[in-house]
């Protein structure tokens, strides 16, 4: 596992794993790995869904169409449960969030060292990069910038839907006179509502980020079992078996987590948007 057996300390291994491949300085840094993987996954998702949509038929559907229809139906039902207006955006939005976030999370199930090693190899051989400075993180949802990118988009949409559903006046009124309908409470309401509104994107993205970051970290820790093994011995074999069992158990459990987190993100997005759109 380790690049130079014995030379890599656990702390060094972990910190190396938690470094992004970046371009730029300070705030204006772009995590190239996050953008790359999330975009590739998104294109992958849209490619298959577009293929299904192109050949979609009302006759007996094929396997791909069936699969896509199950997802579309599932998302459509979730949307119809809480959002009662007519809207062309919200269901495709929810579908995109669900599948995209699921794919992001799914990257966590790929062995932690596989893609970073590959990247190190490609980087050092083809681009002459120092192998120690090839950083690669493959789980976009374990990058706060990515999860905030989603939740901030949802945050903006909350206002769009608020204005569209209730009108600017009613929406602003609600901001000032809710929950306490008295002009003396206006400042208090304002503070309360600002906190409430800000809590939505923050909780949305931090929940996803926290779960997946923790998941990634546990996989990295499991990888430490045999990190410093240099020779084949009873201990190494035992640790290897331990690593396998622990990795398997965590991965199986994680299947649940990644699906659930994608579902939660989608559902809360729908709920927030319908709350903004409809009267209480």
């Amino acid at each position: 596992m380790a690049t130079e057996a014995g030379a890599v300390s656990p702390a060094g291994y972990i910190t190396h794993h938690l470094q992004h491949w970046t371009v730029g300085e300070g705030f204006w840094t772009v995590n190239v790995d996050t953008v790359l993987y999330s975009t590739v996954l998104g294109v992958f998702f849209l490619f298959f869904f577009r293929m299904a949509a192109k050949t979609a038929t009302a006759d007996v559907p094929g396997k791909l169409q069936n699969f896509v229809e199950i997802l579309v139906d599932f998302v459509d039902n979730s949307v119809k449960e809480s959002f009662h207006g007519k809207d062309k955006l919200i269901a495709p939005l929810a579908l995109t969030i669900f599948v995209w976030v699921f794919l992001w999370n799914f990257m966590d199930l790929i062995p932690v060292d596989l893609l970073p090693r590959l990247a190190t190899w490609v980087g050092s051989i083809f681009f002459g990069a120092d192998p120690h400075h090839v950083y690669h993180r493959v789980v976009p949802s374990a990058d706060m910038s990515a999860t905030f990118g989603l939740s901030m988009s949802v945050f903006l949409l909350i206002f769009v839907y608020g204005f569209r559903g209730k009108g600017a006046i009613k929406f602003s009124k609600e901001f000032l006179f809710h929950p306490f309908d008295h002009f003396l409470f206006v400042p208090f309401n304002l503070v309360l509502n600002i906190v409430e509104y800000l809590a939505k994107p923050v909780s949305l993205s931090l929940r996803l980020f926290g779960n997946l970051y923790a998941g990634e970290l546990v996989f990295i820790l499991i990888a430490l079992f045999t990190l410093q093994s240099t020779e084949v011995s009873a201990l190494t074999v035992g640790l290897g078996i331990g690593q396998f069992v622990a990795g398997l158990a965590w991965a199986l459990f994680h299947i649940l987590v990644i699906t659930l987190q994608a579902f939660v993100f989608m559902t809360l997005t729908i709920v927030y948007l319908s709350m903004a759109y409809e009267d209480h």
Binding site: L18, G24, G26, F27, W28, T29, V30, N31, T34, V35, S38, T39, G42, F45, L46, F49, R50, A52, A53, K54, A56, T57, A58, D59, P61, Q65, V68, E69, V72, D73, D76, K88, L89, A91, P92, L93, L95, T96, W100, P140, D143, M144, S145, A146, F148, G149, L150, M152, S153
Partner: protein
């Protein structure tokens, strides 16, 4: 860690993906699904209609069959009656014909009998005269033939 400009890139990518899904993925799939849904409900309705029509046809068939059976029974009864009538008519016609023929035969018979009697009578008379002539020629013995002549006369 922390948030950096990646967020804006992600937002742009996300917006593009959502737009693509909204334009090119969601509508065709939901359209196909809705179309299938209508087709299925139409199919179910057609099936129900078919069942109802079948029941109606069954009832109609029964009615027609019953009517046909009644008509057939009527026709058979009529035919039977007509048959009896014809037989009766034929019987009476035959009877009348037979009666007529019998009457004709009877009349002819009677006529012939009368004719024969007439002829016989004439012949008897002739025979009597001839016999008498022959007897007279040979010997006329009134006494001897008196009984014979008496008898002859009585028979006529």
């Amino acid at each position: 860690m922390g948030i950096n400009a990646t967020m804006f890139v992600q937002m742009a990518v996300f917006a593009a993906f959502v737009w693509f899904t909204m334009k090119f993925v969601w509508p065709p799939i939901t359209k196909a699904m809705e179309e299938r849904q209508t087709r299925i409900s139409e199919g179910l309705a057609a099936a129900e209609r078919g069942t109802r029509e079948l029941a109606n046809a069954q009832g109609e068939k029964d009615a027609v069959l019953r009517e046909a059976r009644e008509q057939a029974a009527n026709i058979v009864a009529q035919a039977n009656a007509r048959h009896a009538e014809i037989v009766e008519e034929a019987k009476s016609a035959a009877q009348a014909e037979a009666d007529r023929i019998q009457a004709g035969a009877q009349a002819e018979l009677e006529q012939q009998v009368a004719q024969a009697r007439e002829a016989l009578r004439a012949q008897v008379a002739t025979l009597a005269v001839e016999g008498a002539g022959r007897v007279i020629n040979k010997e006329l013995d009134g006494n001897a033939h008196a009984a014979l002549l008496d008898d002859l006369a009585a028979q006529l």
